[in-house]
Amino acid sequence: MSHRKKMLILFGSALIIGILGAFCVYRFFPQYLCYSVYDVKEGNQDTAVLTEVAAGAEYKEYFTPTNRYLKSISIHMGAGAWGSEEKQYIKATLYHEKGRKIETDSLLLEDSELNRYVEFSVEKWMKPGEQYQLVIEFPECTGMYVTFMDKEAGPAEHIRFTEGEKETDTKMCFRYTYGNFSKKLLVVWFLAFFAAACLFGEYLIEYGRKQKRISGDNL
């Protein structure tokens, strides 16, 4: 095969791998593409009240995302009262309405860090209009305070909120942070995969030539 043909095949293959690589990043690793914050939705906190959560408590928020890429969901927590040295952890798991687990995140918190929104990372493509469920667990928590508000206080994502399986009149203060992907960065990822494919292709061509030369010498 002539050198020109090899280079054409190399170029074509690298183009395809570049496109596939960029698609993989877009589809499966969007956190390396979606850095900018597109929108933040949170409810009206006029009715907000701090409530101590019991150890072992489990809460569920049913919601519908209003944008495609969800970076994180946050809940507002008051100042902790369990002592500054110890860290406690809370866990959040995101499910699709059909039961498929989408993401899980745990946070290890010091009480001195609180009195703010604590963020559970999602970094996933969502389907606006479909229902999702966020399960928040407080496994062994003592002295942990979460801000609750009226269930009608928004944001638009909210459907219903339960403690265990029992629906409540109040809900946690949720903040939904949506992201947007960068087309420029997608192009750079394409170039990176293209360059990587070219480098591997060049290595394979070199290796092939070497093997040919060795077998030629042996003959």
Binding site: A14, Y32, V188, A192, F194, A195, A196, L199, E206, R213
Partner: protein
């Protein structure tokens, strides 16, 4: 033999690329804004040589960078512009002398260009070259040590051996992460020499002994500093995730996500270097990785000392490894097996140009270039005399920043006033000023007392304050009030 046009281009182009990047690196030098670490460097350099050495012995860094600043101040006195240019100088030496010079002659012009691009256009170089700290000098000394050590291994010239030792010692006296980098370098060199040129190993061992002897005067200080740091240090925790992401963090700029792309490419290039048996490149990657690993191990076993920016001292090694793998040595091009297409090099060159564009944009939009530090300096020159007293509402250690701008004025931190639990009476401070004026400067980014409490405290003793000006200097948002005895 007369050079063809193409050969002339191959020889000149690296210098042009390096020259353009050096100009871009130098422009932030005109910034008059100074942050805490920079103020520390400048104030320390005001001491005598003995004072600098004893001052750094009390701190946690070696003294060479501060001595370089001191040497610069001998010619024409203290000047922020001169200090910044002295800090940019090693980056320029790395790009021009090492990159366009040594690397081009040894590895070829393409390797030279890729080294210049990867080293010069990533945001970490722009950032580390304009801040008055020792990282750019550390990176230069480590890279130079490696190049001369490699040259000695290949050709056995004693000139290269001596320069390698001198550069190694210079690196060790610049930053402790540079100590880790050159330690890894000489260890790799010993291992490779033992395997490939066993009879020459004694030269490397002698080199190590000479380096150890050269570092002996500072070794005691290092051990004392280690003891002090192991008991109490400002870096509180070490996280493997932060450590693993360090190269991506170094390459990140306002074009968010570019660090992850370049990190992915770095991994690919390391694999290619191993597959292609580019052992020099693998050695360079090994030195970079070993520096990071030693830093991590010390952070776990002794005390957390890891800061991503410290890894910058080994940046030249990563850049060299990438350049050798991607650029390809000239000799290789003529070999029958060799295959280099312009596709990979072209794609990488485009990526580096994009990286460089956003790195420069990030720098030019940063606080360094957009603050009102120039106006702040003019205000100080026009309004503040030596007898004036400055009451600063900022954390105590930040008084050093104002000590840089106002070396001869009395500076009182609000934290030291009785109002905040200190032992100084406000009335005494005000009366002791005498003929000089009194100024209250609040930093809204991290004020301690606050304007209202200060106003109340002044009114209690019969004084009032009037807002005069506001400035934004790097990491500070300042408002300046003149304090006068008022008719209340």
């Amino acid at each position: 033999m007369k050079q063809t046009g193409l050969e002339k281009f191959k020889n000149i182009f690296p210098y042009i690329a390096a020259g353009i990047i050096c100009i871009l690196l130098s422009i932030p030098a005109q910034s008059k804004g100074v942050v805490l670490d920079e103020a520390y460097s400048v104030v320390l350099a005001r001491n005598s040589v003995a004072g600098i050495i004893s001052g750094t012995a009390q701190d946690v860094h070696p003294p060479l960078y501060y001595l370089i600043l001191k040497l610069a101040s001998v010619f024409g006195g203290e000047s922020l512009l001169k200090y910044r240019l002295v800090t940019v100088l090693p980056a320029c030496l790395t790009l021009i002398w090492l990159g366009a010079g040594k690397i081009r002659r040894r590895f070829g012009w393409k390797t030279s260009v890729f080294f210049i691009l990867w080293f010069g256009v990533n945001y970490c170089t722009l950032e580390r070259s304009c801040i008055l700290r020792m990282y750019s000098w550390g990176a230069f000394f480590v890279t130079a040590s490696a190049l001369f050590a490699f040259a000695f291994f290949e050709k056995g010239k004693w000139k290269d051996f001596i320069i390698a030792i001198v550069m190694t010692l210079a690196a060790m006296y610049t930053h402790y992460f540079a100590v880790m980098a050159v330690f890894a370098l000489w260890l790799f060199l010993l291992a490779v020499t033992f395997v490939l040129k066993r009879k020459e190993s004694w030269k490397i061992v002698c080199g190590g002994i000479l380096i150890a002897l050269g570092y002996l005067p500072w070794l005691g200080v290092l051990l004392r500093q280690t003891g002090r740091v192991s008991q109490d240090y400002w870096i509180k925790t070490f996280e493997w995730e932060e450590w693993f992401r360090a190269p991506a963090t170094l390459m990140e700029s306002s074009f968010r996500g570019i660090g992850a792309v370049l990190y992915f490419l770095t991994f690919v290039i390391v694999v290619i270097a191993v597959l292609r048996k580019k052992w020099t490149a693998v050695c360079c990657f090994g030195i970079f990785a070993a520096t990071a690993l030693i830093g991590a191990l010390l952070s776990i076993t002794v005390t957390p000392i890891w800061q991503t920016r410290y890894l910058y001292v080994a940046w030249g090694m990563l850049s060299l490894g990438i350049a050798i793998t991607v650029g390809g040595a000239e000799k290789e091009q003529t070999k029958k097996n060799g295959c280099r297409s312009l596709f990979s090099q072209g794609a990488l060159a485009v990526i580096m140009c994009v990286t460089g564009f956003y790195a420069v944009q990030t720098m030019y939009r940063s606080e360094v270039m957009t603050s009102t530090a120039d106006e702040w300096v003019v205000f100080l020159e026009e309004n503040i005399s030596k007898e004036d007293c400055m009451i600063l509402d900022d954390p105590g250690e930040h008084g050093l920043v104002f000590r840089y701008y106002l070396p001869q004025n009395r500076i009182v931190m609000t934290e030291s006033l009785e109002t905040m639990g200190g032992n100084l009476k406000l009335s005494d401070v005000l009366e002791e000023t005498g003929k000089g004026r009194i100024w209250y400067i609040v930093d809204y980014v991290q004020q301690r007392l606050g304007v209202e409490r200060m106003q109340a405290a002044l009114e209690e003793v019969g004084y009032e304050m009037h807002s005069t000006a506001s400035f934004t200097i790097p990491q500070k948002s300042l408002e300046i009030f003149e304090v006068r005895y008022g008719d209340l």
